[in-house]
Symmetry: C3
């Protein structure tokens, strides 16, 4: 029996959180997961300004109190002074997985040379994987398409539920020893 | 009206700074920028030995007192005990941009397998972007050709002047919303 | 006259160290070096559990007391709670060489998308280069095939013996100024 995957979706933007414009990150994330996952999941969404202390508190709450197995942030990863999402994520990390940052930038570099400026990181906190995604809906989709294949096995390894996907959208890659027979 | 871009060029080498051989890094950097930039710029050059404390002091002086928007170092990024440029750069950093190190190595790996040994980093200090380049003129040119497209937009984001380039040498890539009409 | 290269080979696995299954990492490493190196070398092997303090002690002993010029670890680099090899390696590092981690993951990504989950690092401690390799024999071979070209020159730069290889297996890449004439 599968446990339901709990996903925290956190949009980080001064302007969207003040209502200056409509947040586009959370709907893009919701849409991607609705298309990609075939096993049960639910999401918890948050929209907050670019304040490091607030982001840290939110990530800890979602991982530790809400029991999220996966948290995706969107926004706040550039070089500007107000971009502090990676700092907040590293501050709550138990383990850093540098391959996520590297590969998310490598994927985005196929589309824009300025992907080099993104400071996205991937970390583990307890039984939760936290990934920083870009802010733009198009870039969110490109990034998830490029790296999500490795996420289900990562969630297995840190003790979360067994994630299954719609293979025509994305494949969940696992070594043979970690695969369960199709139901 | 454009503000003039101030570029700090710092060659780091025990032997060149003692006059044992002629520094080739600073002329290579000057030549690259003379060919690439079409907007106004000026440079300040320094030639110093591989002493971490001295490098840190120099980077802070160029960023904080001289008001450089961009600093390029050349030399001192290898694995040898006297190579301390990355340590000095990280010590004065406010934000680390890991994409620069990754992409500079990826570019150099197209030419030599030992590019893997380079520990180059890119960081922001205040309103200044600091990049570690290799020591050899050929590798300096290859690296700047490979990553400079993302630099003008980065300088925009940290509050510096709007950089324009000669498109036949290098393109300054910006998202549409950040582009200014050609004069 | 060549000094003999001393290689420390450390397999890190709770189960293999308790005898639950037979370690396959050390034989894979031994076999790779036996095929690749043409200059004199000797190895020291260790099989230990995933205990960070123990791994740190072992790495320091091999580098400082045993005088190893190169240490390869195998195992313990994933995201699971017991995977602590990178933490132990970073804790004893004098210099981190991020290019090794990046390139080892890039090489493995050609074979499996979950290579993104590996947290392998390469560091220098004194006159010793320490590299974290994957746990599986197949992945060990793929990784060494993909990055070893840069290792001999790195060992030169940190003061170790001049390594020569069988060119049909792997090429030792050095800049011309660092090459010795064939004997």
């Amino acid at each position: 029996m599968n446990t339901t995957l709990k996903i925290g979706l956190v949009s980080i933007s001064d302007r969207a959180s003040r209502g200056v414009y409509r947040d586009a990150g959370l709907p893009a994330l919701q849409e991607w997961f609705a298309r990609a996952l075939s096993s049960p999941w639910q999401s918890i969404t948050r929209l907050i300004p670019d304040e490091q202390q607030l982001i840290e508190t939110m990530l800890k709450e979602l991982a530790d109190q809400e029991g999220c197995h996966l948290i995706l942030t969107t926004g706040g990863t550039g070089p500007a002074p107000r971009d502090v999402t990676p700092e907040a994520t590293l501050a709550v990390a138990h383990k850093v997985l540098p391959g996520f940052g590297e590969q998310m930038r490598a994927v985005s570099l196929r589309y824009v040379p300025t992907a080099i400026l993104s400071r996205q990181v991937g970390v583990v906190r307890g039984q939760c994987l936290i990934l920083n995604l870009p802010g733009q809906p198009k870039a969110i989709k490109e990034t998830l398409d490029g790296i999500f294949s490795a996420v289900p096995y990562c969630i297995d390894l840190i003790g979360g539920p067994y994630i299954e996907t719609h293979a025509e959208i994305i494949t969940a890659f696992r070594p043979k020893s970690a695969q369960r027979p199709a139901p």
